[in-house]
Symmetry: C2
Subunit: 333 residues, 2 copies
């Protein structure tokens, strides 16, 4: 009637009732990961001298995922990782997160495993779960809001003429998995893993920030689109060398450029780094590739005419331009 | 396809597309109130020496409101005020908020007025809108996550034996309005206003904290239930004098005890305050009542037997006990 929701910031000491039970179940699954619950709001401390970084991210059934594609545990993991990746994209360290869950009756029995996925992703990201809100809904909705901190958050607007443009990992897996799922086929194991179990590159982002990263973004819309965001924010153009874009086995260049929800990092670093040493050290530290895929080209560069897009992809012959994938707009889709 | 949502933390410089247009429309309505958008996450500063206070609150169509009951502007106001009220309940000062909106096609044309309501409530609370996420949904969902700060947030666990228990405003309006709406009748103008246009008592809470408030909660579940939270967290019992509970015209004592989503404050203050002077100063500052409605009674107080609830309401004759309204549990309802 009135409150009509179960905020476990507020009510977990109370009961009985089916909502209380669900909240208790989740808190039980999370154990020490859940903290600060039991009041109207959670209290956290931002380390002295650091700035607060916040982002919110909703994952909704039949918009962001379909029930048959992923296990509840994977849905929880993915929704939480997607939010945490926005902290990585600022080179921020996670402090905590809050989760608002809208749960249809058909999903009530999956709440414990959803909670497991949320908890596993939070733990992997080093974020405590400090509050939440559980309500009924006609479709499953998971809205994760993350809080982190950094002395100097790294935005998108710092790319400068001549910078190297880099990307972590290998791209194309999530798009290949999605394509198979949409066609009713089983994705390859490796592609499915990249789709269902992405990683938020938290530690990697901080390592890269310490080494001079000037602009940083996570690959959520596809490398071409996300580099477009960097280029627009920085007022530059970016030339990607197609042959250098790291791809998972079987992925075309177009796949690698368009594949979203990768949660890899794309970044601009000054040109004066030792490229081989940097890639070697990164791979040794994190077990994934760090690859220079292109360069920043300032506006007015004669190689790029005014009418061209902010991101150009140069083919193997050094001249062919590859068509860029369009941005997506799911209200139109 | 991939990203399948429009985070205006990320994309508002881009376009075209129907989602971009909706986000631009909202940002246009908010003007200077929206800030820090245009990156993966927003960056805020918590004042030195203050702690971060966070809470998340979801408002979902047909769970928290029905379309015919409220205008879109009121729905936006109410969802945002509900979240901000959790900062008031900690005596925290709002820093900012993020909004995740799930919008069905039937609501798309209402997004500008929803945004007006969200913006008006944020402005009233002194919170900037620092990010958000716009997605499709089968039902309208507004998840507002608020960030505030306080040197010493006031929790629920500080009530002590002998403290006075106080409440702001007059209670019962939202329940009376809801009862009328559920019966298909038009609520009274004043009751409807309390239901549709609640206020988050931000400034009031800080004023009260400065005057020694030891435990604080907002009245979201109903005074009896919310005082129950304070009593449980503080390990005390609370005796409410029924005749002292301030009610709106027409409300019974039971109404005033059960009415939720009031967003008034309930609090415990040491007994040594000058009660008349405090109420007078508060009314002069904020134009609403501050009323002592009862006292904290420590566990073991002989006036309260072990089997009794943590909150007892004593009737006009000083002896009659009033039945307490049950907590609500909308999954069971």
């Amino acid at each position: 009637m009135s409150g009509a929701g179960e905020r476990w910031g507020e009510h977990h000491r109370l009961g009985p009732g089916r909502e209380f039970d669900l909240v208790r179940t989740m808190l039980g699954r999370w154990g020490d990961l859940a903290r600060g619950v039991g009041d109207d709001a959670a209290v956290l401390d931002v380390p002295a001298g650091e700035r607060l970084v916040v982002s919110t991210d909703a994952s909704i059934e039949d918009v962001h995922f379909r029930r048959g594609w992923l296990s509840p545990e994977e849905i929880g993991w993915r929704a939480t990782t997607s939010a945490l990746s926005d902290l990585a994209a600022m080179a921020a360290r996670p402090l905590g997160l809050v989760v608002a869950l809208a749960v249809p009756d058909a999903w009530r029995h999956d709440v414990p495993t959803l909670a497991d996925g949320i908890g596993a992703a939070a733990r992997a990201g080093g974020a405590s779960i400090v509050g939440g809100d559980l309500t009924r809904g006609r479709e499953l909705g998971i809205t994760v809001t993350v809080f982190g901190s950094a002395v100097t958050p790294v935005g998108r607007d710092g790319a400068r003429d001549g910078d190297g443009v880099w990307v972590t990992g290998r791209l194309g897996g999530p798009l290949r998995a999605l394509r198979a799922l949409l066609a009713g086929a089983a994705p390859g194991v490796a592609d499915r893993e990249r789709f269902a179990r992405p990683r938020a590159r938290i530690a990697e982002a901080r390592w890269l920030a310490e080494r001079g990263t000037r602009a940083l973004v996570d690959v959520s819309d596809g490398l071409a689109a996300d580099l477009g965001h960097v280029a627009a924010a920085s007022g530059v153009r970016i030339v990607v060398e197609g042959a250098r874009v790291p791809r998972v086995p079987g992925a075309s260049l177009a796949d690698a450029l368009a594949s979203g929800e990768e949660y890899e990092l794309a970044l601009a670093l000054p040109a004066n780094v030792d490229e081989e040493a940097l890639a070697r050290e990164f791979a040794a530290a994190y077990g994934i590739a760090l690859t220079r895929v292109g360069r920043v080209s300032a506006p007015g560069d004669s190689a790029l005419r005014e009418a061209e897009p902010r991101v150009a992809v140069v083919g193997d012959d050094g001249d062919t331009r590859v068509d860029l994938p369009p941005g997506h707009d799911h209200f139109s889709g």
